[in-house]
């Protein structure tokens, strides 16, 4: 499952070598606007906290610049190449995630399981129609689920739901009721359906959905060309009521500087899936036309240690690497102070099941642990790239921070272009990030469970896996929370991932945009609009 939904997460989508040029261009622009960045009350790092809200104009067209997935991108939500920006606008899921990270009704109004957590019954919303007029029923929901777990489709979410769902045990007793008999008990099952690969498509439309985009979402498709431009228009019969906008126009731009220039020149109103670097963010904020909105805690930054590679096979070395650095220092350098410490726990602060468990920095203890493991004066390489503007500063800050414990880090910068195919999950120590917005259960199972395809530290721990299994099979929510928190403590104490921080994504938007809201994989297409 994608570290991120589309482009910024999946390497094929942006030739990020050009990010370097983007930075240079932004600096050039910054140099020409000397008075703007440091003008009195707007001095650094005063970037706005949130987007403007208010009553929007009636209708209007929003223009969005997006990094294309590739020339092979598709509107099929279950695909690994789905054109992310279109999904939430065109489709709906059974269950969505609210701003606090809890599951909330979407096409399913309520759901319950039997006492064992094996048989789940979803009651579906009545009177919902697809864009082509067909009525939404449980047949569509069942078809969608069976399709996601079909191995031939190779959906990223298929590896998560596949072990749980047997296609022959998905039942539709009534048009308004869906029953799923799981293969193993799971009280977190609805949360797994909030994933963006789980958007509901019409029964039998699998072969055409990639180009038709027929869903039940607030917009319907007007035009779409893979890797190119597209247009979606308001679907007036949407069950939540029509969206504020008349239409959204999507423009594909692979180059980050081109996207920024388009915003500054007023050719687009929003840059999607782009975490602007601080220099560019200040240039954007200084402009009369554009500003910065934040997607809070949207980026989860990680320094994964491959637990199958020397010297990180030794848990004492992993602990030493964590004890040695000061997350505050990393945040100050890499995020200019605009983030929250991760405490090496991948679950974002403030979300359900999160624990505040943290181990204090202790360079002396780190030194002692290394000596004990026979790695005194440890010297290792830390790989980074220009893929994300934060990677390299994060790596450098980490290097400086651990020097006190006698750890010698050499930072190696590599091509952003092939970073996720050649470096990620291959080098023993590197920098990476994920989008937040996954339920804790999916996060822990997908990235930390033994053998999972996204287990980037190759960590394998039976006790940890056992905790996750027990949590899934536990009906009592408090007890379940305790188990998930125990699992997080194990990640902190023994796992291979260092999580220095969670950062806000700096999103470039026009000053005309109102009610922009995005958290995790949820983008509010219904309320976003333009200033009257």
């Amino acid at each position: 499952m994608p570290r991120s939904p589309g482009a910024e997460g999946a390497p094929p989508r942006i030739p990020r070598r050009t990010a370097l040029l983007g930075g240079a261009g932004a600096l050039g622009a910054a140099a020409l606007l000397p008075g703007c960045t440091a003008s009195g009350p707007r001095a650094a790092p005063a970037l706005p906290e949130a987007a403007a809200t208010g009553t929007t104009a009636d209708g209007g067209v929003l223009r969005m610049a997006r990094p294309p997935a590739s020339q092979a991108e598709t509107l099929d939500p279950a695909s690994s190449l789905s054109a992310y920006e279109y999904l939430g606008a065109l489709y709906s899921r059974l269950v969505r995630m609210d701003a606090e990270g809890h599951t909330a009704p979407d096409l399913a109004t309520e759901w319950e399981s039997d006492d064992a957590g094996l048989v789940w019954t979803f009651r579906l919303r009545d009177g919902v129609r697809f864009h082509d007029g067909r009525r939404f029923t449980s047949a569509d929901a069942a078809y969608t689920l069976r399709r996601i777990v079909d191995p031939d489709l190779a959906s990223p979410q298929g590896t998560v739901l596949g072990p749980l769902i047997d296609p022959s045990r998905v039942h539709t007793p009534e048009p308004g009721v869906l029953v799923v008999e799981l293969t193993t008990p799971n009280f977190e099952f609805p949360a797994l359906l909030t994933n963006y690969n789980c958007y509901v498509v019409p029964d039998g439309d699998g072969n055409t959905i990639g180009s038709t985009g027929i869903g039940t979402g607030p917009f319907r498709l007007d035009s779409f060309s893979p890797g190119g431009r597209g247009r979606i228009v308001a679907y007036d019969d949407h069950w939540e009521g029509p969206p504020a906008l008349d239409a959204i126009e999507m423009f594909s731009m692979t180059d980050i500087q081109a996207r920024t220039n388009a915003l500054l020149a007023g050719q687009v109103d929003l840059i999607s899936q782009t975490n602007l670097d601080f220099a560019t963010a200040r240039v954007v904020e200084a402009s009369d036309r554009a500003t910065i909105a934040r997607s809070v805690n949207a980026q989860w930054y990680v320094l994964p240690m491959l637990t199958t590679a020397e010297p990180f096979t030794d848990v004492r070395v992993r602990r030493a690497m964590k004890l040695a650095y000061d997350p505050r220092h990393v945040i100050d350098v890499a995020l200019q102070g605009t983030g929250v410490p991760g405490n090496d726990n991948p679950v974002p602060p403030g979300t359900p099941y999160w624990t505040d468990y943290a181990v204090e920095r202790d360079p002396d203890r780190a030194r002692a642990l290394l000596a004990e493991a026979g790695h005194e004066g440890l010297s290792v390489e830390l790989y980074t790239s220009g893929y994300d503007p934060v990677f390299t500063p994060m790596a450098l800050a980490y290097r400086d921070s651990v020097a006190e414990a006698g750890i010698d880090i050499t930072v190696r910068n590599t091509s952003a272009d092939s970073y996720y195919t050649q470096i990620w999950m291959q080098k023993p120590l590197m920098s990476t990030y994920w989008y937040t917005g996954r339920p804790a259960d999916q996060l822990l199972n997908q990235v930390f469970r033994s053998g999972s395809s996204y287990n980037e530290t190759a960590w394998a721990n039976d006790a940890f896996d056992g905790l996750l299994d027990a949590a899934r099979a536990t009906a009592d929510e408090d007890r379940r929370r305790t188990l998930y928190q125990d699992a997080q403590r194990m990640v902190v104490d023994e796992g291979g991932a260092m999580t220095p921080m969670f950062a806000d994504r700096l999103v470039g938007i026009s000053r005309d945009v109102l009610n922009y809201h995005e958290s995790g994989f949820e983008f509010d297409y219904l309320n976003i609009g333009l200033r009257p």
Binding site: G9, P12, G28, S70, A72, L81, A154, P156, Q257, L264
Partner: protein, 319 residues
């Protein structure tokens, strides 16, 4: 003459062939292959393996190359590994768009740089020369993307008269693309002009010091007539090659500038193909670029022949 031309044509074909071999080899050396690049990290290992099989990536590189080159000779550049669309129509579309910029740039750059070069040469070491030479040095030293960024800042953001990026796709009508051609043209002209100005200046200085110009002056001809009728044709001879090289450079894809302006030309197509390891597209662009390059040089040489009677008299004296 005919022998000369046919020999040049033969060497052109060999050059194009060599270029495609080298590009093919270089792409093999790029880390990562098209299956992993296309599917991204969202993909499962099984999906990657299946796609590799489906794309025929497991076959030996030599076989794949032979297949490709036999198709290319027939004008069939195969299908893109990424989009599954035939390469040729897309390539022609992007080539058309790049030609828009190229033609505009050549018109602007060649005209202005010859005028500037002649002025600089005639006013050698006086203030017009100093001003022109200094500006061309600056033009040569600043990378295109910096020029491009400054132009966007000035003419799209501060005074919004021209688009900063192209929102249209490659298939857009030429008329729609025209406003978007202006800034790339200026950016490229700045860089291109610099080289031609310096070449023209040097050659004007040389010619003006030569004996036939002195003779013409001694015959009592006015400066204007001496320059236009006698000096200029000779002065332009060495400049032609520089212009040809620049034209080839333009058509071969001004990748950086096209990327900055999101311009749907060959340069951006090339960047995306490299990024996706889309071999058929990459090969097609490389071969077409090589062909354009070779043709431009050929045209420059033939143009030089037309301008210089001595080159026309026979193979021996031409060499």
């Amino acid at each position: 003459m005919l022998l000369y031309i046919s020999r040049r044509l033969l060497s052109a074909v060999v050059t194009v062939l060599l270029a495609s071999v080298i590009v093919f080899a270089a792409v093999q050396l790029l880390p990562g292959d098209v299956a992993t690049q296309v599917l991204g990290q969202d993909a499962t290992p099984d999906a990657v393996a299946a796609l590799r099989e489906q794309m025929g990536l497991n076959r030996p590189a030599v076989l794949r190359f032979v297949d490709w080159i036999t198709g290319a000779v027939r004008g069939d550049f195969g299908v893109s590994l990424v989009s599954g669309e035939p390469v040729a129509p897309t390539l022609w579309l992007h080539l058309r768009n790049t030609m828009l910029i190229a033609v505009a740039t050549i018109a602007v750059a060649v005209t202005s740089s010859i005028v500037l070069g002649v002025v600089a040469g005639l006013y050698r070491d006086r203030w017009p020369d100093t001003v022109i030479s200094t500006l061309t040095l600056v033009g040569m030293s600043v990378p295109e993307f910096v020029v491009a960024t400054l132009l966007v800042l000035a003419l799209s953001i501060t005074v919004p008269v021209l688009p900063a990026v192209v929102l249209d796709e490659a298939s857009a009508p030429v008329v729609d693309l025209l406003p978007a051609v202006v800034l790339p043209t200026i950016a490229l002209s700045v860089v291109m002009t610099a080289y031609i100005v310096r070449m023209t200046r040097t050659s004007v200085i040389d010619v003006m010091a030569s004996e036939f110009v002195t003779t013409a002056r001694l015959k009592g001809l006015g400066t204007g007539r001496v320059v236009v009728r006698h000096a200029l044709p000779s002065a332009l001879l060495p400049t032609l090659n520089v212009i040809a090289m620049n034209v080839a450079w333009l058509v071969g894809g001004v990748a950086v500038v096209e990327n900055v302006f999101n311009y749907p030309g060959v340069g951006r197509m090339l960047l995306e193909a490299v990024h996706n390891r889309d071999l058929p597209v990459l090969q097609a662009i490389a071969v077409v670029s090589a062909a354009v390059y070779v043709l431009c040089n050929l045209a420059a040489d033939l143009g030089a022949m037309a301008l210089n009677p001595r080159l026309r008299t026979g193979e021996r004296s031409a060499r």
